[in-house]
């Protein structure tokens, strides 16, 4: 069976004064229907750009240039017309963002905003669409949805706003939901509730979810497959259990080690990855992680590593895989 979404060699360049910058460089992965798929990396690794490129949200006349393929249900999103893309957005792919307060329009009620999404894609009467909105809010677990539907975003709590945004994204029952750091701005307890709700709705609606996050804990709990990105490239990909049990790329290993767990003893220093993500245009010819990698030698800085298939669906982009093998 063909996957729901197949991203193949996606490349996104931004035009700037100092020439173009490649923010996403040859990213490929596949999301299946009903699957929770994690896209992981530090901020600035290009994960949000990847998702917004798939949605074609950038200004293509002035700012961004895409190449590669993003095939949703047999249709290449990167080559369809803007008009067709508008039909697809909100109906076949939806997106939720990190900060629900600034992502919801402050001057409209949430009911209005949910109904607008409906109106774009389905012909429904006023009352029907209102009922659908209330129904959707109930599904996301908002208490007394028939009252909340007439609230403005500023009248809701952070968790409720995020639920309202999810209701808005799912009201047309899309095949794919892109969730861009959906819980980062929330309290830890609310985070868990929201993630649980997303997983629940994913199963009920049998949709694929592309979860973009820097939180490995969330990924471990919810995703079946994971892609790790660094500076616009996929550095490791695999089933969730493989990646967490047997990470092969030094960057993934570093990321996993720096997550505090219950077993971490008090007083033990938490291991960190040295340095920080360098600016994109400073990326050298060789491995992009070389400057921060504990295993890197001179060769790594010159020769760009290829994505090596490790079997069992796991791949890693490193020249020193023999040193990282479990």
């Amino acid at each position: 069976m063909a996957p729901l979404l197949r991203v193949d060699g996606l490349r996104t360049e931004f035009r700037t004064l100092r020439g173009s910058v490649t923010a996403v460089d040859g990213v490929s992965f596949e999301v299946e229907a009903g699957q929770m798929f994690g896209l992981v990396g530090e901020s600035g690794c290009g994960k949000s750009v990847t998702s917004q490129s798939i949605m074609r949200l950038y200004d293509e006349k002035k700012l961004a240039r895409h190449s590669g393929k993003a095939i949703l249900d047999g249709e290449d999103l990167l080559s369809v017309s803007q008009k067709r893309m508008r039909q697809i957005r909100g109906r076949d792919i939806s997106m939720i963002f990190q900060d629900a307060l600034s992502s919801l329009n402050p001057v409209f009620t949430i009911g209005w905003q949910i109904q607008e999404a409906l109106k774009m894609h389905q012909k429904l009467g006023k009352r029907e669409s209102r009922e659908r909105a209330i129904e959707m809010l109930r599904l996301t677990g908002i208490p007394s949805p028939d009252k909340r539907v007439d609230c403005y975003p500023h009248e809701l709590s952070g968790g409720m706003r995020q639920r309202a945004m999810i209701a808005m994204a799912l009201v047309c029952t899309p095949k794919l939901l892109i969730a861009d750091e959906p819980t980062t701005a929330l309290d830890v307890t609310i985070q868990a509730q929201i993630m649980e709700m997303i997983v629940d709705l994913k199963d009920r609606l049998n949709m694929g979810v592309l979860l973009i996050t820097h939180d490995l804990g969330v990924v471990a709990q919810t995703c079946s497959r994971v892609v790790v990105m660094y500076l616009g490239q996929v550095v490791e990909e695999g089933d969730s259990c493989d990646i967490f049990d047997n990470p092969r790329h030094p960057y993934t290993i570093g990321l996993l080690r720096s997550v505090p767990s219950v077993s971490t003893k008090k007083g033990d220093p938490l291991p960190v990855i040295q340095g920080s993500v360098p600016p994109l245009d400073k990326a050298g010819a060789g491995c992009r992680f070389a400057d921060r990698c504990p295993l890197a030698d001179e060769g790594c800085k010159i020769e760009p590593p290829a994505l090596v298939d490790l079997g069992g669906g796991q791949k890693a982009r490193c020249r020193k895989l023999d040193l990282t093998g479990g």
């Binding site: 931004f14 700037t16 910058v21 923010a23 290009g46 949000s48 700012l63 994109l280």
Partner: protein, 287 residues
């Protein structure tokens, strides 16, 4: 990175296109225009071919010529002379208004931003004053006080002062909360020192921008008041008076309107550009 790159890309696009046309270069142009205008005004006695009050009944309404660059008006006065001296008077009136209203407004704004009790009284009064369009307030005052250039300055100053006070108050309120003010207070400084020594220097930039706009606006309003009979009293040549005289002969002598008008537009334009430039330079978020 992605968001950063995007923001940078957008900012750069703006800079490339608009910046080249209207950015800092224009602010610099505004500065040079003002230097030129100020020089013209200062050198009026040297540049003018004759006095601004010299009447030559035989030379009435002459078009521009090598002898009279700007032509002459209906009384045969040389228009270049009247324009240059008019520029002098307009700049003086506008400058004095800007300076005076800024100093008083700044003091009131500082005090009402710092002391709540003062705030309630001063700001209520300012709101009441600002409910009257500034030009009307100035006209009413000139009408009451009698028409002279001192009274024109005084009246416009009263009309503009509340605006400066409001800007100064808002900035004072935000600066007062900052940690360094706490630190200075805890080191035992009295309120005059805190307020005028430490808060005042930190709120100068918005106040200066405001002062530039008041300068420009005062020149326009003085001229408008001349049209209503409440400006600098004739025969003194303010730019407004020169243009008011031109109105009655507009069918016969276009130059009496166009040439002094150009000088006036250039002056106000220079001040406005300068104000925009100062504002942009002080506000790096660049709206």
């Amino acid at each position: 990175m992605s968001e950063q790159v995007l923001k940078e890309a957008r900012r750069e696009q703006r800079k490339v296109m608009l910046g080249a046309i209207l950015g800092q270069r224009v602010a610099l142009a505004g500065f040079f225009i003002m230097v030129l205008i100020a020089l013209l005004a200062i050198l009026a006695p040297v540049l003018a071919p004759q006095g601004p009050y010299d009447i030559n009944p035989l030379d009435r309404l002459l078009p521009p010529s090598p002898k009279h660059w700007f032509g002459t008006d209906s009384l045969g006065r040389d228009l270049l002379a009247r324009t240059l001296y008019g520029l002098r008077i307009s700049l003086t009136v506008g400058g004095e208004t800007a300076l005076l209203s800024t100093v008083i407004g700044l003091a009131l704004g500082l005090l009402s931003g710092y002391f709540r009790a003062v705030d309630n009284v001063v700001m209520r009064i300012c709101e009441g004053m600002m409910a009257i369009p500034p030009m009307l307030l100035a006209i009413a005052l000139v009408a009451a006080l009698g028409s002279s250039s001192e009274n024109v300055v005084l009246s416009m100053c009263v009309a503009y002062m509340p605006m400066v006070a409001r800007v100064a108050r808002a900035s004072t309120l935000s600066v007062k909360e900052q940690t360094f003010i706490e630190a200075i207070k805890s080191s035992g400084a009295g309120w005059p020192r805190v307020l005028f020594g430490h808060i005042a220097p930190n709120i100068m930039s918005p106040v200066i921008v405001q002062a530039t706009y008041i300068f420009a606006s005062a020149i326009i309003i003085e001229a408008a008041m001349s049209f209503l009979g409440a400006g600098v009293p004739p025969p003194d040549p303010s730019l407004g008076n020169v243009l008011y005289d031109a109105k009655s002969v507009i069918f016969k002598a276009w130059w009496t309107t166009v040439l002094p008008g150009l000088v006036m537009v250039l002056t106000v334009l220079g001040l406005n550009i300068l104000g925009d430039g100062v504002r942009d330079a002080m506000d790096p978020s660049g709206k």
